[in-house]
Subunit: 177 residues, 2 copies
């Protein structure tokens, strides 16, 4: 696997997403192409950046998903959160949060214990080793610009701003008035 590339086959001689866009324009009308191209681009970009991040995070015993869970604990006020709240913030099912926290626990990066005020709730807490790994892994992913090469800050904003509108419209958050 080369640096920054995840394919084991030669590049296609054409952009497959633009080619799909041309098919869409021809068969379904010109206005149908941009939404389709944007979606396939997002799906493919996700594969590329997550694979790049996983390659770096592997050295820390982490995957992108475990890293997200670890950073959530790292930035929590007390260093601990109920699993249910982690699921809401990570937007994954409770069963998946449980698996992620179990993986962190197996590596000594987090602990699980019953919530002191509500024993039906499980509280995950970051360990001192977890804090060290969180910081080291973050330096590593920041050093590769989170896998976004070759995009400059302006191009990144071009992605962040419209996707914020998408996320807001999907009910992820409500801006304070």
């Amino acid at each position: 696997m080369g640096c920054g590339t995840l394919r084991r086959v030669p590049p296609l001689p054409f952009d497959p997403i633009r080619e799909a866009g041309r098919q869409w324009e021809r068969h379904w009308g010109a206005e149908t192409a941009p939404p389709m191209e944007a979606v396939i681009s997002i799906v493919r970009a996700q594969q590329i950046v997550v694979a790049r991040l996983n390659a770096v995070l592997h050295g820390f015993g982490l995957t992108y998903s475990r890293y997200e869970a670890l950073m959530l604990l790292f930035y929590s006020r007390e260093g601990s959160l109920p699993l249910g709240k982690m699921g809401v913030r990570l937007q994954v099912h409770l069963t998946n949060v449980t698996k992620l926290v179990a993986a962190l626990e197996a590596r000594g990066l987090a602990d699980r214990a019953p919530h002191p005020d509500d024993r039906r709730t499980t509280l995950a807490s970051i360990t001192p080793a977890g804090r060290d790994v969180a910081a080291a892994a973050t330096h590593a992913v920041n050093a590769i610009d989170f896998g976004t090469a070759p995009l400059a800050p302006g191009a990144l904003d071009g992605i962040i701003v419209p996707l914020r509108d998408l996320r807001r419209a999907a009910g992820d958050f409500a801006d304070p008035e």
Copy 2:
């Protein structure tokens, strides 16, 4: 599940990705925030749009991945492709292509047969019923703008153009000179 929203919890009172960006700026330097925010935005946007598409495609016995595989056959010159070539175009492993095609076959949308010129290769072919479903499902996903609401064409271009640079740099394709 409401229309256009996939959350079963109330919206957060703040944008969690912008909040993460503030943490990044504070702890790791201002230049580290945009790549991280762009990546988390892409990952979350992918969840949102794929869930919206799956909700529509479910009525056709399809998932987003099966739909992609079906459309690849639909647009192939002969209506059939070797599984290996489908894997390259869909950028998924051969085992996953085999599963996707088996799911299409189980619904009568595709057939599998040994390649006439090379019996070690399996050829997938779209059936007449597959063509009908491909067209009907495409009308349905186009009707919801591929799950990209509320984004306008200009915002979609703001996503498509930088992600094309990312995909090209990752070796997905080489522009013809």
